[in-house]
């Protein structure tokens, strides 16, 4: 039986991924009947349960990067990239303390259906809404492009094992994987997105637990044997700062901890749950779910590093190969199938959220900022915009080459630097002014893009996004404190007092 499974490895993996995609299509059909208004499409009618919201929050935080890029970084830099992971309990705490109650209240008070909508209401300033929508749209195009490209690469690598399917080019793989994503995002909007997130969250957790144990068994002496091998080769790699160094790691700690409260695809979910009191349960669910998924990130990279040093595995030309190589050589075919489905789940759960907030920016936020009102028949336009964004991001991903990578890298740091001051701080601090919010958003876009475009290297391996966040926060506080306090609308002020 086991030998048969190993012979049929590629088929088993493809079947697992195929089943997962069919499930997404099924959810799309179900969600179509639940989506009747634009409020349903963007906000799930504000009626999500505790569990669905909690799982959706963590699964949209864990993108394909956590399944491929994360282990790759651990292979390349040792412990350094674990600073991105160990900060999740405090980062989820910050986003929940600062926004879980506040965003839901703003949504109830002003009927906001997107983050820029809430920003415009808070500052009573259309420019703030426009700038935040622009920052989101730019980040979405880059992030979505990289996610779509990652999906296509995964699918293509699976199809290459089948003689009859080798004709499928990367373009075809983009088309197939995008078709599934677009189908359920167009039919069911955010409802389909969060319910697929629920399944995706569970698939990711199961995959991560199984991989963790497979990784322990892959090396003699388990984790102790692995750490011992690495410490003999390079003590710094397995030390707390890894090969990146102390300031580089602390810059990741800064941008990933504070930055989580500025990720629009994640915090928007906090506007969707049913009762204010449900906020109490969202935090532990998100922290627990992410902690489980992080096991995969931590274990694969370190184990592959040790196996290569021991000479058991040949050196990897590209660190991103760490996870695929581990699955191919050290995981049971069924486990590999689940993990590949988990990988698609991780990519899709982030991509669907991006599609939704991108559509909201185009059909709701930008028209409102420019014309003072949103488009008529918003639901139909939202569905059209979802297709247009997916197609544009696909073309962009296939044709723009370096620019996609640029915008992809630009994603997390941009959202963090642009939206943490204006949203996470500004929604709780009454002294914050519209001018300070607008300057913080604009500066973050300019600083992030310039640093990436000109390939500026900051000494000590300091993350560019962290530098942009430090600049935008400093400007935000300085400008807010320099101006006299501005009056806030009565309903918003009460919502900020609760």
């Amino acid at each position: 039986m086991d030998t048969w499974m190993h012979e049929q490895r590629s088929t088993i993996i493809l079947v697992c991924v195929g089943l997962y995609m069919l499930m997404c299509i099924g959810v799309g059909f179900w969600a179509l009947r639940q989506t009747k208004t634009s409020k349903d499409f963007f906000m799930a009618g504000h009626r999500l349960g505790i569990f669905v919201t909690g799982v959706a929050v963590f699964s949209s935080t864990m993108s394909g990067f956590g399944f491929v890029g994360g282990p790759g970084l651990v292979y390349r830099m040792g412990v350094s990239s674990l600073w991105m992971v160990i900060c999740t309990p405090i980062s989820f705490c910050l986003s929940h303390y600062l926004l879980a109650k506040r965003l839901r209240l703003f949504a109830a008070v002003r009927g906001t259906i997107s983050l820029p909508d809430a920003v415009a209401s808070r500052y009573d300033n259309r420019a703030s809404g426009f700038l935040s929508a622009l920052a989101i749209l730019l980040g979405v195009m880059g992030y979505l492009g990289t996610q779509i490209l990652a999906m296509a690469h995964v699918l293509r690598s699976l199809l290459l094992d089948f003689e009859g399917l080798r004709f499928m080019s990367l373009e075809w793989c983009v088309a197939v994987s995008c078709a599934v994503l677009v189908f359920y995002c167009t039919t069911g909007g955010i409802i389909a997105s969060v319910y697929t997130d629920l399944v995706q969250g569970f698939v990711m957790m199961i995959a991560a637990i199984l991989v963790f144990f497979a990784a322990i068994n892959a090396i003699d002496g388990g984790f102790y044997g692995m750490a011992n091998t690495i410490v003999k080769h390079d003590p710094e790699a397995i030390g707390p700062w890894g090969t990146l160094g102390i300031f580089g790691c602390l810059s990741w700690f800064f941008v990933f901890t504070l930055g989580a409260s500025g990720q629009p695809h994640v915090v928007t979910k906090m506007m969707m749950y049913k009762n204010l009191r449900d906020a109490k349960h969202l935090l532990p669910i998100s922290v627990f779910g992410y902690a489980i998924c992080a096991l995969l990130w931590i274990s694969i990279g370190l184990v592959m590093r040790a196996l290569v040093i021991q000479g058991v595995h040949s050196p990897l030309a590209n660190a991103d190969e760490a996870a695929p190589q581990f699955l191919q050589h050290y995981a049971h075919p069924l486990l590999a199938g689940i993990v590949f489905a988990g990988l698609m789940a991780a990519i899709m759960s982030t991509a669907d959220s991006f599609l939704n907030i991108g559509a909201a920016a185009i059909v709701h936020d930008i028209p409102r900022a420019l014309r003072g009102r949103s488009l008529s028949n918003e639901l139909a336009w939202a569905r059209t915009a979802t297709v247009v964004i997916a197609v544009a991001a696909s073309f962009f991903a296939l044709k723009a080459g370096k620019l996609v990578a640029l915008l992809g890298a630009f994603g997390w740091g941009t959202f963090a630097a642009a939206l943490v001051p204006a949203v996470a701080i500004g929604f709780n601090w009454k002294r914050a002014t519209a001018l300070a919010a607008n300057v913080a958003i604009a500066t973050s876009l300019i600083v992030n893009f310039s640093l990436e475009l000109f390939g500026v290297r900051i000494p000590f391996g300091i993350d560019k996004g962290a530098a942009a966040l430090l600049i935008s926060l400093t400007l935000f506080f300085t400008l807010s404190l320099a101006a006299p306090p501005k009056p806030i609308a009565r309903d918003i002020e009460t919502a900020m007092d609760v």
């Binding site: 292979y75 390349r76 830099m77 674990l82 160990i86 405090i90 705490c93 910050l94 303390y97 600062l98 926004l99 506040r102 109830a108 008070v109 388990g222 003590p235 710094e236 790699a237 397995i238 030390g239 707390p240 700062w241 890894g242 090969t243 160094g245 102390i246 300031f247 602390l250 504070l258 204010l276 009191r277 906020a279 109490k280 935090l283 532990p284 902690a291 290569v308 050196p315 990897l316 030309a317 590209n318 660190a319 701080i425 709780n428 601090w429 002294r431 000494p459 000590f460 300091i462 430090l470 926060l473 400093t474 506080f477 300085t478 807010s480 404190l481 309903d491 009460t494 919502a495 609760v498």
Partner: protein, 171 residues
């Protein structure tokens, strides 16, 4: 006003410490190993990190202070028990980070002799301590939700506001 000034002071603190580190300049560098493909090595820890460890510790503690101040802003309460609870969390988090920095100093002296569990001591503190300490704030959020985060009077206030808005809308 006070919150803004505190955070701004902490941010300026980070600027100053980093400015000093930039002034001292980088020592050692990441080595790209030729034998193992796309794998980096971290150079000699003692040369690379020892002069910067106090500065790194200061940046870490300043960051932790910013995080805890932001948590306090989210709750928006000024009563003593809440502040004490938050201060205890800050102390715990900062103490774990301090222990990590100190244990790293021992680690660079004799890497192979400094293991705690399956990993070197500072790495174990990173994985368990730095990950685990914030669970205190998770517990605080869950256990004190009805007292501090959303007490009945706040919930009532929110419901009253929504009723007024509904009434205004219907008129």
């Amino acid at each position: 006003m006070r919150f803004g000034l505190i955070i701004l002071t902490l941010l300026i603190g980070i600027w100053m410490v980093m400015g000093f580190a930039f002034y001292l300049g980088e020592l050692g560098s990441v080595i790209k190993t030729s034998d193992f493909g796309d794998m980096h090595a971290g150079d000699e820890g003692r040369i690379r990190h020892e002069p910067f460890l106090p500065l790194g510790w200061a940046v870490g503690v300043l960051q932790i202070s910013i995080f805890v101040c932001c948590l306090s802003l989210g709750v928006g309460r000024k009563d003593a028990p809440f502040r004490r609870a938050l201060a205890a969390g800050w102390l715990l988090f900062a103490a774990v980070f301090t222990f990590l920095a100190v244990s790293y100093q021992w680690y660079v002296e004799r890497p192979q002799a400094n293991f705690l569990g399956p990993f070197p001591t500072p790495t174990t503190i990173l994985l368990l301590g730095m990950w685990g300490a914030p669970l205190y704030f998770v517990a605080l959020f869950v256990l004190m939700f009805d007292r501090w985060i959303l007490p009945p009077e706040s919930l009532e206030r929110a419901e009253r506001l929504l009723d007024v808005l509904k009434e205004e809308e219907s008129n």
